[in-house]
Symmetry: C2
């Protein structure tokens, strides 16, 4: 344990967090510093609540550096869940377990600054949490509360035969970024001397890999897009485990089939570059890599005019369509083969 | 990873949880199975929210067995926080990180059954969560939502000079139970052959130690007592880190001093027995051990008639009083010495 952190102690750290947190959500009656937070919510409007954890050694490696981005990501992955419901995030809680050989006080301050930065971006107030030790590995468990859109939250269960299946942004970036980090590439750093650089890898490919690393370290939740799709999308989910898995959830909950065209998948250029570098199939990174935190949704209309207004520059791609039938997604390859699309990221099936 | 658990996979496990969860709270519009849970809350009544984690190697050891009690405790420690606000728990989320060499599917099922059992006791519905791997050690991160009592939640900040300082139940039981578990004693098991049994340790002492083990493994949150104290108590906190620390929080938030009489501390008989067995001071276990999950509160009146009605048999003890002055608790010993009471459990100051 960093002596500065041990000297501060658990309650000193909680006080430090309490002092640095800005009140920016309506309805915070009582924030950090009591047994529970006390909130006032808009009458009759309902409440959205979600929780997502990031664990060292599983979701991130401490030696990648970048505690600020880690704090941002811990908040962002939860914002993405609220975005996928078309909601508005308001209040957050942070569970923080710190290993003995863990971060210094300065690293923790950077992490908290990143969390607060992301909270500021989306109008969220940190109102409570829990701080303790862990035996090994930093644990970040964020819970996020918000309000559903007026009318109805956007669920996974509303897709109807005939709807188009759409996705925001590019896919496979986060998985490619993870591959790059695992190989020793670092954000903003020049190509490492100890990694052979193939002749085909030019400045454009290197920039694409850097962009993929940025997606992995600090994904951008599609909050404005999610909110704008209320009234347009019939079902929505965020792409956290990969389209293969997440389209499967959408089909199962909506009891519909979906046909996804392989040639339409918007593959992140960093996934193309890392695929070529490592021999991995870029399409597989895009479909099964996970952690892109884009939105996958169904709609009977063209969502591009709506999304073009709130998120100009954000790619929006029709990757397939919904039909009646066995409630699973199928992948139609360009050579005419068609197969059930399965096998996104599953935490408990990963070896090691 | 248990092959049965790996075969089930992350989403199979989530489905299993979803199937076993009972809906018992009003206002659950959308529970497990979407990006976020959607709840309807009583209009204008406000919301309480709290989160508490249990980590293997820190809060519990897997080799103690008792996954059912572990599930109960993960919920109970959060119920205790809502109890300390005088509130009513309604909805919970479970963050669950599972190590590769971790629990079997059967153990996880027992753990979830315990969690659900505790949820049933207090009228709580599990509405969401997050499941993933951990690199080492099981992590349970429960978030609990509830409603504050009509009028006002009971805070830590309302204590006034002249109020009595009271505590429910007996103190030091959880710390004594932990000592016993660490020495190899097990719940319901006969005295281990490899631990010398002193002559003074009779059946009564052994039963007291067993009771202390039960407090540590599955503490009983004082929900009915907390609710009944609304309108009577001026400030309240649950005893999670020990009275030394928790009275400190109460004094700091209320900006009052408190004088605690050492001779009045209701020491759990298991703490007396384990103190004698290990050479630890039972008073120190009671004041600094933590995890008893009793309620520490201030009131200008006698709370015993009120508590006697909702929690017959629950000890209620006046351990001191509130006064103006430096906002810290002081301990008055029976020999007349008086000292600032400090040093409850602090996660980041513990060595190792």
């Amino acid at each position: 344990m960093d002596p500065a952190l041990a000297a501060l102690g658990e309650f000193g750290l909680i006080n430090l967090i309490r002092q640095r947190v800005h009140q920016r959500s309506p309805g915070t009656i009582l924030g950090i510093g009591d047994d529970a937070a006390l909130l006032a919510l808009p009458a009759g409007g309902g409440l959205l609540v979600t929780t997502d954890m990031l664990l060292e050694g599983i979701h991130f490696q401490w030696h990648w550096g970048r505690p600020r981005e880690l704090g941002r990501k811990a908040m962002a992955v939860n914002v993405s869940d609220i975005a996928a419901m078309g909601g508005r995030p308001l209040h957050a809680l942070l569970g923080l377990a710190i290993p003995p050989a863990g971060p210094s006080l300065a690293d923790l301050e950077a992490l908290l600054a990143g969390l607060e930065e992301e909270a500021a971006t989306y109008g969220i107030t940190l109102v409570g949490g829990d701080t303790c030790r862990s035996q090994s590995g930093l644990v970040l468990a964020v819970t996020l509360l918000g309000t559903p859109p007026p009318g109805q939250a956007l669920r996974r269960s509303g897709a109807r035969p005939g709807d188009g299946l759409w996705v925001t942004g590019m896919l496979g970036g986060a998985a490619a970024g993870l591959l790059a980090l695992e190989r020793g590439l670092r954000p903003g750093a020049p190509w490492p001397a100890d990694i052979a650089r193939p002749a085909w890898l030019g400045a454009a490919e290197e920039a694409a890999i850097q962009a993929a690393i940025a997606v992995h370290l600090a994904p951008v939740p599609r909050l404005a897009a999610g909110q704008a799709l209320v009234g347009c999308a019939t079902a929505m989910i965020d792409v956290s485990d990969g389209v293969a898995s997440d389209a499967g959830h959408l089909c199962a909950e909506s009891r519909v089939a979906a046909r996804i065209l392989a040639g339409r998948i918007p593959i992140h250029p960093g996934a193309a570059a890392m695929g070529r570098l490592t021999g991995r199939d870029p399409l597989d990174l895009a479909l099964r890599g996970g952690e892109d935190y884009e939105l996958l949704f169904t709609t009977p209309t063209d969502p591009r005019p709506i999304l073009g207004e709130v998120a100009p520059g954000l790619a929006v791609t029709r990757i397939g369509e919904v039909s009646a039938g066995q409630p699973v997604p199928r992948l139609a390859r360009e050579d005419g083969r068609e197969e059930i699309l399965a096998g996104g990221f599953d935490h408990l099936r990963v070896s090691g």
